[in-house]
Symmetry: C2
Subunit: 685 residues, 2 copies
């Protein structure tokens, strides 16, 4: 309470900076920053604790702008409060290589917690951040040591409110009773198509109440700073529910076009810029101006945050003396290099060719069983397919509000419900918090439901592990609606994503090894429902190269390149071919992206020139031309039936492979083909 | 009201058939059919009007099983009521090539309206079917001729209720006041992870009320047939709101495992099958038995439906005499061959090379403007990006409830809101209704949000058009969060999907020509934000081949294969190369899937052997190895900045292309490469 002129000056500075930056860029969204500046001021200046000198301090309050197109709001605040976002950075808004890109990107801009813009994502990320806080507190807080008690604030607009991912995340947050999560709904009645009444007339407050949230309404978000503050304070006081505060604002407040769609996604006209500046006490002909008293006001808050961090560091030091093991664990988790506990990898299961055939989803379960104790930051979960994804180790405790009696805050298994998209975005938030490695399961086919968030795992460098079982027509009876065809090439084409499709136990362990140690890259583990034999020459050191020679034959007529469940069928096909006088070698390629990163001479040894290579994978052949001359795959939808019958129907049998390998060898008779990995130039990466 | 023993016999027959079929298949979900048989009986036997002899009768009531895993419920009903689903078909449940696959597939099974199983989809499809009914009625109904007045019934479970797509669709349906839509919520408290209390504790009724639905609860869905009937009758009486009836049931009713997760996704054990049969008055040792009186009861309802259709046919005949034009239009729309109005294609815009450069999103708008009058079944729309997608013709009327005063039922423009996934699934429903061709816009990058439904457009053969603008880094300032990299190869790998990326005006017209005339295949039109020049040799007849030679040179050293916005840059690159003494030919490849369908000799003429081919497309290169020896693309995320700056950064300039073309020519000196389209064997399609 007790807001003065300097508060309004700070608010108006944010508005004018947004006007200036979008005008200069001739691009961007001034409307949301102008409408949300008052509420953002209250949140940042009265509630948030953070230290701009160390944006990674673990117990900072988080601020997520889910309506990421309004990012000039966030960039302006980062600048005013002393983050490493300079005035020149603001001036470079929306230009190539600026740290102020068109939508906020966590990896590149200090103070940006998560990458937003694709609507609904930030909201779900915030649920992840709030879960992470609650869990980390559950694990580390001890009597007299409330180490972890930060809040997560998320600002979202009508667009986010309409997205299904936000609905899923809100339902999850309500179930989980996340009292540390405060969502501010910028209720401005405008989306790109104009008035929300053309498509969005539901009662959002009632909907959030139905999810189990505490709900309030501030009717005059343009002026009523006291009302906003009181509502946030009340939200903080409600500890057993997430809070949603609907704040009615005027989009583009101050502009001639205030309250209209005209100010949403276009810079103001020049004369409008001038009148806005004058209205707010700035000079019409000056741009990118910050009054000193505004810097002072903001710096004061930042200094308090720095002091709070110092106090926290002292507390943590004392904690580490009293709780040595936990203190060391937290310290390790917070190390920017994200090291795993020493020797953890020795726990990875290793298999011999004589070991029994096992489905790779079960092999994955064995990995989780083996490592969960030595990798305490690993949190598993599933989108309501626990028994099918095999994501839960035996003695796992559910992450649940203790009041439900079915788990606790320290629990490491998350029941995401049938909410794949929110699961992925929540995992992005869990990873972004900094103390957790999330793994979440669904069928490979339904990772596609989460594509919007999976993409952001990659773009924002989050170490998220997608446990994607039932990875092909090999799932059998569920049929074409559940059988992936296009899915693997989709995610192989996604930059900074590792798609693993292990062929047996050692390759499954290798996939986990790489997923856990690649701390800036997410992974999708494509795993079978059906059993797979343990292969000769499959080892963890081989498989972590992404692709390797499983069966060598220096006089081979052909190389078979395969993944996952088809590798062992290729091994059988070698015998069939041998009976026909054709010599074949076999390459197992569990992860093309990792193979791509190997030295060229290694790649050429694995897939040599002078003989044709044929890929074998029981789904779309697209992309396999990169590693083979001919491709055997499935460029149609699958079929519902017992898995062996379905494989037979499509000739994914030793004989079916041999038939095509023979055709390939004949087609290449007299030709001396180059290796497909031998290329004229390197693409831009 | 007035249910007798034979009603319960019919209900129990459905239950026992589901038990028998899942037991025989040793796979499937008996629980939902056993729990939902009573409510399904009331819907089918008391309310639904349909004629199994003509499953395509337009004014039939629709039944959608959104919890598609419970499909034995639907298959059993189809059999009992006389659809072409025989007892042998039921016995072949979940075996290869059965018309009773693991989840319902609309294209293959008479009486299945839409393809369900992926959760939430059926619910959103039903919203589409209801919109289609309301719109078709709005267009065709006249005083004394209520031609179109069917209802849509959708059954959904907890899984669907958790999915974001269903939330989006429910919000849309509430806004649109779809009084013809009745959703039955199978409230059984069980999902795959067990009790829903572990992840799903929201108040679903309150949530639907918040969306603007009429909501009721039947507490004893296992026994209270009268209560179910009364609730449905009430729902029918409420004309200005969609209705949701929560019906509390016991999953696996009758089984020893009733009410538990054990009966959800696994067949009953043998002894349980026996006791279920005895409990319901069947012989324990007999399977697949239907009492005659059950057939009679069901056939009576079907006969009434057949009579209703006959009456409707008479009405339609009279209508066609009185309203000649409308009658002829509806008759044409209902023709199974789905012919478009004669001569419609003459309206497609044609361009000369001297015409100005225009963004293909604008070219798309020109097509819609030109053809919307001659193709009255075309309904356009956008997921809240109307001004950016350019999906709305000038005088379009919104499809809206008349009471809102912003449109009417006959309106042909749908405001989907920021709900991409629901938009796609609603379009699947619109298309499945039979009288509409839906087109819906969003940014190409956000078609990925809808991937789950886009996949079902393809699998269920729906003629749905995705207007996907802002198709590359060429969108500029919005940056990497909005710039597609992996998206085109994702959807190119999807069977039965046409991905079009036109390079200019004539190619855009060609894309629409193919999208509109391929009535069993959906399309994605990838369109630019930036302007594109009109190209020499680009014609509609050329472009509808999917790929064609734009610049021929019989002595060429290299073929450049390109799409969309990069084609004109390739044309410029030819000049740069020519200055360096390198001769290049250019192929424009707006749609690889259509090119794949051309005769081999045509393909080899377009991409001949003997010289290298290099692809140029400003996104993932994956998949381009199929049509080229070398690939120039972008295998990383983009950048935020003015589009020309971004293209320059990544060297997508005539010079950047020429540099790589030169490297390719040198790399292939002395090699006589095969055409990449010349292959050893044909893949399974």
């Amino acid at each position: 309470m007790g807001y003065s002129d300097v508060d309004w000056k700070a608010i108006n500075t944010v508005r004018v900076l947004a006007v200036d930056a979008t005008f200069k860029a001739n691009s961007g969204h001034p409307g949301a920053p102008m409408g949300c500046a008052p509420l953002a001021h209250v949140v940042w200046n009265k509630f948030m604790t953070f230290n701009p000198q160390n944006p990674d301090w673990v117990n900072r309050d988080r601020f997520v702008l889910s309506n990421g197109h309004g990012c000039m709001l966030h960039y302006a605040l980062l600048h005013l409060y002393g983050y490493k976002v300079s005035m020149d950075d603001l001036k470079s808004f929306r230009t190539v290589d600026s740290i102020c890109p068109g939508h906020p990107e966590a990896h590149d801009t200090p103070g940006i917690e998560v990458t937003t813009g694709p609507l609904g994502q930030g909201f779900a990320n915030a649920v992840g951040l709030a879960i992470a806080q609650q869990h980390t507190a559950g694990v580390f807080n001890k009597p007299n040591y409330e180490l972890i008690n930060n809040h997560t604030y998320v600002l979202f607009g009508d667009g986010c409110a309409m997205e299904g991912i936000a609905s899923e995340a809100a339902s999850t947050a309500g179930h989980l009773q996340l009292g540390n999560l405060i969502a501010l709904y910028d209720d401005n009645h405008i989306s790109i198509d104009g008035d929300t009444k053309c498509a969005f007339t539901e009662d959002v407050m009632k909907r959030f109440e139905a999810y189990g949230w505490h709900v309030q309404h501030v009717e005059d978000g343009d002026n009523d700073l006291d009302g906003i503050e009181a509502a946030i304070q009340k939200a903080k006081d409600v500890k057993d529910k997430p809070s949603m505060i609907k704040i009615t604002t005027t989009i583009g407040f101050g502009s001639k076009l205030a309250g209209t769609g005209g100010v949403h996604g276009n810079p103001l006209k020049k004369d409008d810029c001038a009148q806005v500046k004058e209205k707010f006490g700035f000079k019409a002909d000056e741009s990118f101006v910050v009054p000193n008293e505004v810097y002072e006001l903001c710096n004061k808050q930042s200094a308090e945050g720095a002091a709070a961090e110092q106090k926290w560091n002292d507390l943590f030091k004392k904690y580490s003396e009293e709780h040595k093991e936990l203190g060391a664990d937290l310290k390790r988790r917070l190390d920017p290099k994200k090291p795993l506990p020493e020797g953890w990898e020795k726990k990875l299961p290793i298999y011999k060719p004589t070991d029994p055939a096992v489905a790779s989803r079960k092999l994955s379960e064995s990995v989780l069983e083996a490592i969960h104790e030595v990798v305490p930051e690993l949190m598993s979960g599933s989108a309501d397919l626990t028994g099918s994804n095999n994501t839960r180790w035996k003695n796992a405790v559910d992450f649940q509000p203790p009041s439900l009696g079915i788990g606790d805050w320290a629990g490491r298994y998350i029941r995401y419900g049938v909410r794949e998209h929110a699961m992925a975005a929540i995992m992005n938030g869990l990873s972004a918090y900094g103390t957790i490695i999330p793994a979440g399961g669904t069928f490979l086919n339904f990772v596609s439901y989460a594509a919007g968030a999976v993409r952001l795992s990659s773009l924002s460098h989050q170490r998220v592990i997608y446990v994607a079982t039932h990875d092909s027509i090999g799932l059998g009876e569920d049929g074409p609606t559940h059988q992936p065809i296009e899915t693997l090439v989709h995610f192989r084409a996604l930059p900074n994503m590792m798609v693993w499709r292990p062929a047996d136990g050692n390759e499954t362990s290798a996939a986990y090894y790489m997923s856990l140690t690649s701390h800036e890259t997410p992974s999708i583990l494509a795993l079978t429902r059906q059993n797979l034999p343990q292969l000769e020459n499959s080892t963890i050191p081989n498989a972590i190269k992404g692709g390797y020679t499983l069966i060598e034959d220096e006089n081979a007529d052909i190389t078979l390149v395969s993944t996952g469940s088809e590798v062992s069928i290729c091994v059988e096909a070698v015998k069939v071919l041998s009976e026909q006088g054709i010599k074949a070698r076999v390459v197992s390629m569990p992860c093309t992206e990792v193979f791509d990163a190997q030295p060229k001479d290694y790649q050429l040894k694995v897939i040599p020139g002078g003989k044709p290579a044929m890929s074998v994978e029981v789904m779309s052949t697209l992309g396999w031309e990169k590693y083979s001359h001919e491709q055997f795959g499935l460029n149609r939808f699958g079929a519902s039936g017992a898995y062996k019958d379905v494989y037979k129907k499509f000739e994914f049998t030793p004989e079916g492979i041999a038939k095509r390998a023979k055709a390939t060898v004949e087609f290449y008779k007299g030709v001396n083909p180059r290796s497909p990995v031998d290329r004229a130039f390197q693409n831009i990466l």
